[in-house]
């Protein structure tokens, strides 16, 4: 997804001279397209994320549109206060390009697992929190939101990903809905690949699932969410993120505050201090948020739904 985003920024920068790309010394074999095309507007800030977000606020104060690139943990957790007191407090057009949301940097270790960032960003009332589902969606989101007022936090998957089942175009106000069925699966954009696969696995077994991918966490697409939840008896949320503060939390808040009748199960990361490491796929499996585990959970849920009803 990184390359698709950098390509989109390279194109956007051709027509918008205010666009500048800052990096915290990351993006090897990814960021070169922009750096070579727009050398004067590409700035390697060094390994100094706090300063990067502060400088970005200063640039934006003067009318520039800075995009700040780093691995999601370093782009969110470390400079959070600079983001809060800079771009967010002053409502400046700073964009955070947080790469490798979830277990995207699996083997790199726990320091590189960005699993609390959405919760953190959701605490800022005027922060847009965007989690695209695939490469096309990512490019679309960057393009659509380029002129949006205030700051935006983009949480991107690390590797390239195209999900043909999804529309590939970003819409801030709606979730991306695929299919219909006995149960609603709501998945965070960065783990849409597992959700799409779970839906296919279940279809092969005769279990039909309505899938909705959440790509805009804030401002929350509440109207559409309520519409989907009203039509569902059971909803399962899936996220490559800890349970507090993420998608499942958001859905729980909406269900509770709107007094909706549907039953909620949240699937997410419950243990962040894993004793062993591995690929993104391995870590998702171990956390129980991979397609197979999700499919099994959903199949059991659908069965119990009918058994209880009879």
């Amino acid at each position: 997804m990184r390359k698709a985003v950098i390509h989109e920024l390279t194109e956007l920068a051709r027509t918008d001279e205010r666009l500048v790309l800052l990096t915290g010394d990351l993006g090897f074999m990814v960021i070169e397209e922009f750096a070579e095309t727009h050398p004067t507007r590409f700035i390697n800030m060094g390994v100094a994320e706090a300063n990067m977000l502060g400088v970005a606020a200063g640039l934006a104060l003067e009318g520039y549109r800075p995009y700040c690139y780093s691995i999601a943990t370093f782009a969110s957790l470390r400079p959070f206060e600079q983001l809060r007191n800079g771009a967010h407090l002053h409502q400046l057009q700073v964009r955070v390009i947080a790469v490798g949301g979830g277990f995207g940097y699996g083997t790199a270790g726990i320091t590189h697992h960005a699993v609390e960032d959405v919760a953190l960003m959701r605490t800022l009332p005027h922060m847009r929190v965007i989690v695209p589902a695939d490469d096309r969606d990512a490019a679309s989101a960057v393009r659509v939101l380029h002129d949006a007022k205030g700051p935006t936090y983009f949480r991107f998957a690390k590797d390239s990903r195209v999900l043909d089942a999804l529309p590939g175009t970003f819409d801030e106000t709606r979730l991306q809905v695929v299919g219909d069925g006995d149960v609603l699966l709501l998945a965070l954009g960065t783990i849409a690949d597992e959700a799409v696969r779970a839906q296919k696995l279940l279809a092969a077994r005769g279990v039909h699932v309505r899938l909705a991918i959440a790509t805009c966490l804030a401002p929350a697409p509440v109207d559409h969410l309520v519409e989907l939840l009203r039509e569902a008896r059971s909803v399962v949320t899936l996220e490559d993120h800890v349970l507090p503060g993420g998608l499942g939390s958001l859905v729980a808040e909406v269900i509770a505050e709107r007094a909706l009748g549907c039953r909620l199960q949240r699937l997410g990361i419950e243990e962040t201090h894993s004793p062993t490491l591995g690929s993104e796929a391995f870590l998702r499996r171990r956390a129980g948020i991979d397609a197979e585990t999700v499919a099994a959970r959903l199949a059991a849920l659908v069965a119990s739904q009918y058994l209880r009803a009879s």
Binding site: A48, G58, L61, E81
Partner: protein, 266 residues
């Protein structure tokens, strides 16, 4: 306005406004009066409603009293505005907010203003605009690691339109900086800055003429760091150099004593 006159009036305003509100941070504000007077009387000449020709970031936001007073003397804040300082529903708090006319940046969390100032100066460099950015830091603020990230960055990028001033009064909330985290002498601080690619000079932070010379726009390509040797609580004898006055408000007796001393200053 003549900067000496500006400074004299600003000192009195700081006492008056803080006394009315019963709020401290007086010593930190008195410490920067002469710096503020030179900046606001001579160099921060933004016209209202126009694209700013200069930016000013009070990175040591806890001296906002001095900023409010300066804005009043420049006609940006009214006497009524000042009278609302720290009142319920007021726009003027202990630390400054950008929603106030004439204030570019909200500060109060130390260690963040220089990065933002560097971003402003970087923008000027990219667009080849003549705009200059001034950033006023406290010496204790140099304890923050992020300041050194910004120092390293500005030096590396040759942000010549950036001028930072360190209010080197040797005091912080709980003690002398030499005892809390020793920065070294003024000359040593200046040497540190020079080693990061800044041009740096030590001045008497209460010498208006020296400050005026040091803060005048220059055409060099290195960012400039003015190490201003100052006295916390400058002008009020019982406050000068006393750590307790970082926070304390004034009693009635202290208020009149302090007013008498400040009024007697040249």
């Amino acid at each position: 306005m003549d900067p000496n006159d500006f400074a004299r009036q600003l000192r009195l305003l700081i006492l008056e406004v803080s006394k009315r509100a019963g709020v401290g941070h007086i010593a930190s504000s008195l410490s920067i009066v002469d710096i503020m007077a030179v900046l606001f009387a001579l160099y921060l000449d933004n016209a209202e409603g126009e694209q700013p020709r200069t930016r000013f970031v009070l990175s040591k936001g806890h001296a906002a009293l001095a900023l409010y007073g300066a804005l009043h003397l420049c006609g940006r804040l009214t006497r009524d505005d000042l009278n609302q300082y720290c009142a319920d529903g007021s726009a003027l708090g202990v630390h400054p907010e950008h929603t106030v006319v004439g204030i570019d940046v909200s500060t109060g969390s130390l260690g963040q203003g220089l990065s933002l100032s560097a971003g402003s100066a970087l923008a000027a460099q990219i667009e080849r605009a003549p705009r200059r950015t001034y950033c006023l830091l406290s010496d204790a603020e140099l304890d923050e690691g992020s300041v050194w990230e910004a120092i390293m960055f500005a030096g590396h990028r040759r942000l010549g339109q950036l001028t930072a001033i360190v209010d080197l009064n040797g005091q912080q909330a709980l003690g002398k900086t030499s005892e809390v985290l020793d920065l070294g002498s003024a000359a040593e601080v200046a040497a540190k800055m020079t080693s990061f690619g800044w041009s740096s000079v030590v001045v008497d932070g209460h010498d208006i003429a020296a400050l005026a010379a040091a803060l005048a726009p220059s055409d060099g390509d290195a960012p400039r760091m003015i190490i201003a040797r100052t006295v916390a609580g400058h002008g009020v004898s019982f406050m000068e150099g006393q750590v307790a006055w970082h926070y304390l408000p004034l009693s009635d007796q202290q208020y009149y004593l302090a007013l008498r001393e400040l009024a007697a200053m040249a």
